[in-house]
Subunit: 299 residues, 2 copies
């Protein structure tokens, strides 16, 4: 087995390689003056199971390099080529919301699936798709961040109240709350645009004295969490702690969260960020071992 | 038939649609704050032959949108989905120049081929690949810019000497020269890096009194043409006119060409640029009519 970091993502790949006890190398990338990308694999891949590793935030900058590297590994004799993408892109456009729109989640799955033998990711944004298998034509394994998040909450927060920002998060919030032995609630959210989100606390239940722990799977602009924090403060609760699985964090997102009264923001290390506090590599390594079934020796 | 402009490339598509006497619309594109791209087709495509149109310079910014649009057109019932890309990207990496390198020309061809029924382009950079059919799994048609360039040279340059920047350009330079009834020669080129190119005039033949017309298929940094112009001036010829098929032109390329003593730079309109002077739409339209063979009615 060999872990190959996508360009610029060596630390994440090294953590995975340590958990898998295997070699790790970074894919070299060159951008030509005309904007074309060239990748190069600097270690032998022949007859090895190659695990391309990196998060797919800002995906348009990364996807061609990933596909080129997967093809090169296969041409150079890799036994199998899988992808560990702790953050999987293009999961949110799962419907033609306006006539004529592309359903990019499906197209993107077909693209990646065409060059990979398997895929491992963490908490993909599944809403209208029930599972990755509906769109990904290769074996997939989904790692749940809930156990690692629950461990962090138990270790760091006394008397937590686990809070989800919207009804979609209900099942996951209840799972984390169950693992923590803590109560939970979800907020009511209305989205009017990329940057315009309204959130209300409907369930006022006996939350005094508890520390709200706001969970969110993907944080980009942070507007949802800002609105959620304000709703909690308006309802008389204390300053919330935020726990984020995929810290996409657009430029000013973190500042906005603190302005909205959030006491602390921590994240899983699915995307490299200063807020990373919860390690996913051990769970990713277990998933890799499970998905690379030995009966699929050839591509 | 329907011509659909890739985002931001409406003028080129409109010229093609006029030559094809068919409707034209631009694909709408939205970039989400997290860097993901959404495309939308605002005209009916059901049972129509859809011609996606746009140049693929700076390809990493354009390719996912193109593939998403092709998939959407097919899902929305298009009878066929073709691509007219006057400039086709990723043709230059046609070999593993260093161990472990990707052969991106082949990977890119497989990617595009997976979403398209046919492809039309202008003078693709064919060096180690003899034809697009070696790597593109769909029918392709290649438009030669030579007749349009020869018409421009005949109309604008008295007593031209057609000059190629390197031995690879020999066949094409001879074709243009033949169509112009002009003499021709090619220079000797050595490339040492993206920006370091050496060029010499080996054939000193009786060129006094002729205006050198330097042809080049792809101009990115312009270093090759700068070196070529200097070689011609050193050999005592007059200030050359440059004719470029694909004006990629990195930021300071045009200024560099004029500094090197080039009298005038003109280009084919394969990529929108202020130097565009040679129209390709009529030839592209003829190629589209030829390649959309009626026996391939379904995808």
């Amino acid at each position: 087995m060999l872990v190959l970091a996508l360009p610029g993502q060596l630390p994440m790949a090294q953590r995975l390689a340590r958990s898998l006890r295997c070699e790790c190398s970074e894919i070299a990338q060159h951008r030509f003056p005309d904007g074309e990308t060239l990748v190069r694999i600097d270690v032998p891949v022949k007859d090895r199971c190659v695990i391309l590793t990196g998060s797919l935030n800002q995906p348009d900058d990364k996807t061609l390099a990933l596909l080129f590297a997967a093809d090169a590994a296969r041409e150079l004799g890799a036994a199998r080529v899988g992808l560990v993408a702790p953050y999987l892109a293009y999961m949110r456009q799962d419907h033609r919301f306006k006539p004529g729109e592309a359903i990019t989640s499906r197209s993107y799955a077909r693209l990646l699936g065409g060059s990979l033998d398997f895929l491992v990711t963490v908490d993909p944004h599944l809403h209208r798709w029930r599972s990755l298998d509906q769109i990904y034509p290769v074996p997939t394994a989904v790692v749940s961040s809930a156990p690692a998040i629950a461990r962090w909450v138990r270790a760091h927060i006394q008397s937590p109240l686990i809070v989800g920002p919207d009804s979609e998060s209900r099942q996951w919030v209840d799972e984390v709350a169950g693992l923590c032995g803590a109560p939970s609630t979800v907020l009511h959210k209305t989205r009017r645009g990329d940057y315009d989100v309204r959130v209300r606390l409907l369930d006022k239940g006996p939350w005094r004295g508890l520390t709200p722990v706001l969970l969110d799977d993907i944080v980009s602009t942070g507007r949802t969490l800002q609105a959620a924090a304000r709703a909690l403060l308006r309802a008389g609760l204390g300053a919330p702690v935020c726990v984020v699985v995929h810290p996409l964090f657009a430029a000013d997102a973190l500042a906005g969260l603190h302005e909205a009264g959030i006491a602390r923001v921590v994240s899983c290390d699915s995307i490299a960020h200063a807020s990373n506090a919860i390690a996913l590599a051990p769970a990713l390594a277990r998933a890799v071992r499970a998905v690379r079934t030995p009966d699929r020796q050839t591509a």
